[in-house]
């Protein structure tokens, strides 16, 4: 089960990189667009961490996936995976956490600041510039606008609280973590390493937050090797 990150992301980032190689290796692979992202519905509410975890539970139940799953999360997707793992430990076989935040204070403020920086530019000039870039840029911008302006996305993000370290310590499932050397969340790597001593950690030299895109071949090898170790009787 692949879980993508927030904002301009959707399931295609995994579809283009890790999902097909993992499926080709024999795994049953599930990708989905988070609420409000990609081709999923964009309801007005329901963007809190508890909602994200509930959506994941509902999806697994709807797909009749009863046994423990291997989760692969990118950025916020990894945070959702952690939230799911601490509340449903029996449903998680292992986790791959890519550039994952597990303290999320400051996100809502960051996104809001970015949004007002864009909005303060002349609206019609901005629209003309986007139109020049063609349909893709306009559609992406419209989608992001819809999420930020027509849902409780930002407000809900502001309510997200850190997963207590004491709860992280209760996790027994195998964890593989990958962070970019130059990303602004690489500090989490050291903390994760401290609270999950059995976690296998790699810091990718020369990479920022976009490890998934910047280092796809290396990450693919890490993930495929990981699943070989996690499924000794064959990747299924």
């Amino acid at each position: 089960m692949f879980i993508h990150g927030l904002g301009m992301d959707n399931l295609s980032s995994f579809y283009y990189t890790l999902a097909n190689p993992v499926a080709y290796a024999g795994a049953e692979v599930i990708l989905y667009d988070l609420r409000g992202h990609g081709l999923s519905e964009r309801p007005r509410t329901g963007y809190r961490m508890g909602d994200s975890v509930a959506d994941l539970v509902a999806l697994l139940n709807a797909l009749s996936v009863k046994g423990p799953v291997h989760l692969v999360g990118n950025s916020y997707g990894g945070t959702v995976a952690l939230g799911f793992a601490v509340t449903h430990p029996h449903r998680v076989a292992s986790m791959v956490l890519i550039e994952t935040h597990f303290r999320v204070t400051g996100w809502a403020e960051q996104i809001a600041a970015e949004r007002s920086r864009v909005a303060s530019a002349d609206e019609s000039a901005l629209r003309r510039w986007l139109d020049r870039l063609g349909r893709k840029a306009t559609r992406l911008a419209d989608a992001a606008d819809n999420l930020l302006d027509h849902t409780t996305f930002l407000a809900d993000l502001a309510t997200v609280r850190a997963i207590p370290m004491s709860r992280l310590r209760t996790l027994t499932c195998p964890v593989r973590a990958v962070y970019g050397e130059h990303s602004d969340v690489v500090d989490y790597a050291r903390e994760l390493d401290e609270y999950l001593p059995h976690c296998v950690l790699t810091v990718m030299a020369g990479c920022g937050h976009s490890v998934l895109m910047e280092a796809s071949p290396a990450l693919r090898k890490i993930v495929l090797d990981w699943f070989v170790t996690q499924t000794p009787s064959g990747i299924r």
């Binding site: 399931l11 295609s12 283009y16 990189t17 097909n20 080709y24 349909r135």
Partner: protein, 98 residues
Amino acid sequence: MTPDQILAEVRVMLIEIIGAEYALSLDIGMDTSFDGDLELESIEFVKLAAMLTQRYGDRVDFVAFLAAKELDEIIEMTTGELVTYIAHCSAFAGAVDG
């Protein structure tokens, strides 16, 4: 199926995905690139792959096709690459079936 027949079917799918108004203003041929020429969003490419799997999935392994490609190869893919792969798999499947 001939490549021309497959291209025609892919064209119909692309029109459904990006809209007739935009698609019909373009000449979608074997050299048309999904990103550069059609500005297909990555999520729309996934939708195209799903439609192709539904149509040709019994004889074409799209997972194998994409698993063998690096990220930039998928981004820079042309209609022709897809059509050629589908035609190749279809011909092989036809030969096996006798």
